[in-house]
């Protein structure tokens, strides 16, 4: 009833091509941003920031990066955790070794290092695909895990790869309180989401999608496979690397290689599948789902008065994850994002469908 585009006429190409073409969408997005940037920092309790909002934002960013590779370019990666680790450890080195390095510069440089590693491990994708590529990216995962654990220069000489950062500030403003951390991450995520959305709408995004849908046909119409695949690896690894640096610096503060192990890679892949392959929105929905589900599964039995041990609830979580993955692959391979899109379509006709 309220969600209609009647009477909204587009009189220029610019108007036709904008990201949010319907006025109601623009209003909703503006409201969402206002709530996220102003209302939440003022009202939310500290627990919410620490346990839910900040991890959600950073993992959405990582899922966004992974979605560019898996969802848009069709190249599977089981090494996302490794790229996050590269971002985090590289940013750590820039921060610690260079006196007076600005925080944002370290984070972005960490992302660039991750880009380089991503491109190196993306090179096999030029010859192999599918599950063979999955093994190649697993190689990245195990190699980086090992490097962070054993190579002294990666961790600036600390044993067993555990490092920590403290006293972070941006332009003199300390990033210490949970609300400040949240706002810092939110700015990053909003900016990168906008960049990613525009990238996938541009020619390079279309190249990725053509590559994903049928590589031979894409090559025939003049898309260079090397260029398309390696740019997807590079952009994806950059975003994932920045997310990894944020995860280490802002969320954890002190971390060791296990923070970026293979479980992290699987978790991100699940976010992308459940949220929706090939959708920016999907990364956020998937991340929200996977961050909230374990907390819900932990809380629910308590509310119902059923005592469950932590071990049991973690096993239940993993069962629910597994079952949901299979369920989504069977029923809705495009994930939550597609459900959302379907709901919007329905809403346009509601309450008078044809």
């Amino acid at each position: 009833m309220f969600y209609r585009e009647n009477g909204q006429f587009k009189s220029s190409y610019r108007a036709d091509q904008q990201i949010l073409a319907i006025r109601q969408d623009r209003i909703a997005m503006a409201l969402l941003l206002a709530v996220a940037f102003i209302v939440v920092p003022l009202t939310a309790p500290e627990y919410l920031f620490r346990a839910i909002l900040t991890p959600f934002l950073i993992l959405s960013l990582a899922a966004l990066g992974l979605n560019i590779l898996v969802g848009y370019c069709g190249q599977i990666s089981l090494g996302t955790g490794a790229f996050m680790a590269v971002g985090a450890y590289a940013a750590y080195n820039f921060q610690v070794r260079i006196e007076g390095m600005p925080l944002i510069a370290s984070l972005l440089l960490g992302g660039l290092c991750s880009t380089v590693v991503g491109v190196i491990f993306g090179i096999p994708s030029l010859r192999i695909k599918g599950l063979y590529l999955a093994v190649a990216t697993l190689a990245a995962q195990f190699f980086v895990d090992w490097a962070a654990l054993r190579l002294k220069f990666v961790t600036n000489g600390s044993d067993s790869g555990s490092v920590s950062v403290a006293g972070l500030n941006v332009f003199g403003i300390p990033i210490e309180s949970p609300a400040a951390k949240y706002l810092f991450c939110l700015s990053f995520v909003a900016l990168f989401a906008l960049l990613a959305k525009n990238l996938v709408r541009s020619s390079i995004g279309r190249e990725w999608m053509a590559m994903r849908d049928m590589d031979v046909a894409a090559a025939v119409i003049g898309i260079r496979p090397i260029h398309a695949k390696l740019t997807a690896f590079a952009v994806s690894a950059f975003i994932v690397g920045v997310a990894g640096a944020l995860w280490g610096f802002i969320h954890l503060g002190a971390w060791e290689p296990a923070a970026f192990n293979i479980d992290r890679s699987f978790q991100l892949l699940f976010m992308v599948i459940i949220g929706g392959l090939g959708s920016i929105m999907g990364a956020f929905l998937g991340a929200a789902f996977i961050v909230l589900l374990p907390i819900a599964l932990e809380r629910l039995p308590q509310l119902l008065g059923i005592p469950l041990s932590t071990a049991t609830s973690s096993h239940l979580t993993s069962m629910v994850f597994g079952a949901l993955i299979v369920f989504f692959l069977i029923v809705e391979p495009h994930g939550l994002a597609r459900l959302w899109a379907t709901a919007k379509e329905k809403l346009r006709l509601w309450p008078f469908p044809h």
Binding site: G74, I76, P124, S125, L126, R127, I128, K129, G130, L131, Y132, A134, V135, A136, L138, A139, F142, F143, D145, W146, L149, R150, L151, K152, D215, P225, I262, F266, L269, I273, A311, T312, H315, L316, T317, S318, M319, V320, F321, G322, A323, L324, I325, V326, L329, I330, P333
Partner: protein, 309 residues
């Protein structure tokens, strides 16, 4: 020199267990084209079932004989694995027919998580011991050749014998029985097999059950050596480079690939590891497989079916 041979044999033993897990991968891949990421979870699940049933059966029935308890536990665990195979086929795979390989891979990833959770919920998450009466005492051989001889564990020798027997059994099953012929027909060509009246879904249940059987044997050998615990599930990740190296469709490839990776891993750890800071075991297999993919993507013995990009 004796030390070198001991390392070599240690590597062969580890490699044999990789081979057993890789064998499960290859069986399922050949018959259904599914790259079964869940093989490791199946090994863990089977081993947990075996370990716990062997513990529970004497409590339930008051059986005194340990042998009987083990045999019953083995049979029960096998029944459980067939049920798992049935459920996987009916609930997941039959609904994903004609999907791309990558979708199936992600589905088996989901199955992995489900089985890990289910197994530990049903059977508990401690470290359990499987005791099937394998002798633990070491023997020293070839004393006349080297000073000090080569130290071998009898358990490893028995394990190797069991693995060899399993491979022969599987080979006989595939070559000599009607079901085995049907399995090979399905592996060669799904449509042709279906058109001459081989029921695909039954075949897939059988294949997953056979893979479950292989997983059970691998789980028992591994579990009696090192105990049954969650890390067993991760060992399966090592089987991925093994099948890449040996070729995805080749049973001998899985075995030889497993042995090569096992030996390569141990020798490189001893002789190259110290130069790089140690612990290279965890990535050696993957990097070897990665390099191999660039040179010979179909693996040592695989059919040349990989799509080049």
């Amino acid at each position: 020199m004796g030390f070198f041979f001991e390392t070599l044999i240690g590597g062969l033993m580890a490699g044999m267990l990789y081979s057993l897990i890789a064998l499960g991968f290859v069986l399922i891949y050949k018959a259904s084209g599914v790259f079964n990421f869940a093989q490791g979870a199946m090994v863990l699940f089977a081993a947990l079932a075996m370990a716990r049933f062997a513990e529970w059966i004497p409590q339930w029935t008051g059986l005194e004989s340990k042998l009987m308890a083990n045999v019953l536990a083995f049979l029960l665990a096998m029944v459980v694995m067939v049920l798992v195979a049935y459920a996987i086929e009916k609930l997941a795979l039959s609904r994903l027919v004609n999907q791309e390989g990558i979708t199936l891979l992600m589905a088996t990833l989901g199955i992995t998580y489900f089985l890990d959770g289910l197994g530990q919920t049903l059977f508990g998450n401690d470290i359990y011991k499987i005791d099937v009466g394998m002798p633990k005492d070491p023997v020293i051989v070839a004393e006349s050749l080297f000073p000090g001889g080569i130290l071998l564990s009898k358990e490893d020798l028995y394990a190797a014998l069991i693995a060899a027997a399993l491979v022969i059994l599987l080979a006989l099953f595939f070559q000599k029985t009607a079901t085995g012929r049907a399995l090979r027909a399905v592996a060669d060509d799904h449509q042709a097999a279906q058109s001459i009246g081989i029921p695909l879904s039954t075949i897939w249940i059988i294949v997953w059950s056979v893979a479950g059987f292989v997983a059970l044997v691998a789980g028992i050998i591994w579990g009696s050596k090192l105990g049954v615990q969650f890390s067993l599930s991760l060992v399966a990740l090592k089987a991925l480079p093994v099948v890449i190296l040996g070729g995805l469709t080749s049973v001998p490839g899985a075995i030889i690939g497993g042995l090569l990776i096992g030996v390569g891993e141990k020798l490189s750890e001893i002789y190259i590891g110290p130069m790089l800071g140690g612990g290279i075991e965890i990535w050696f297999a993957y990097v070897l497989a990665l390099l191999f993919l660039l040179v010979r993507p179909q693996g040592l013995f695989g059919e040349k079916i990989i799509d080049r990009v």
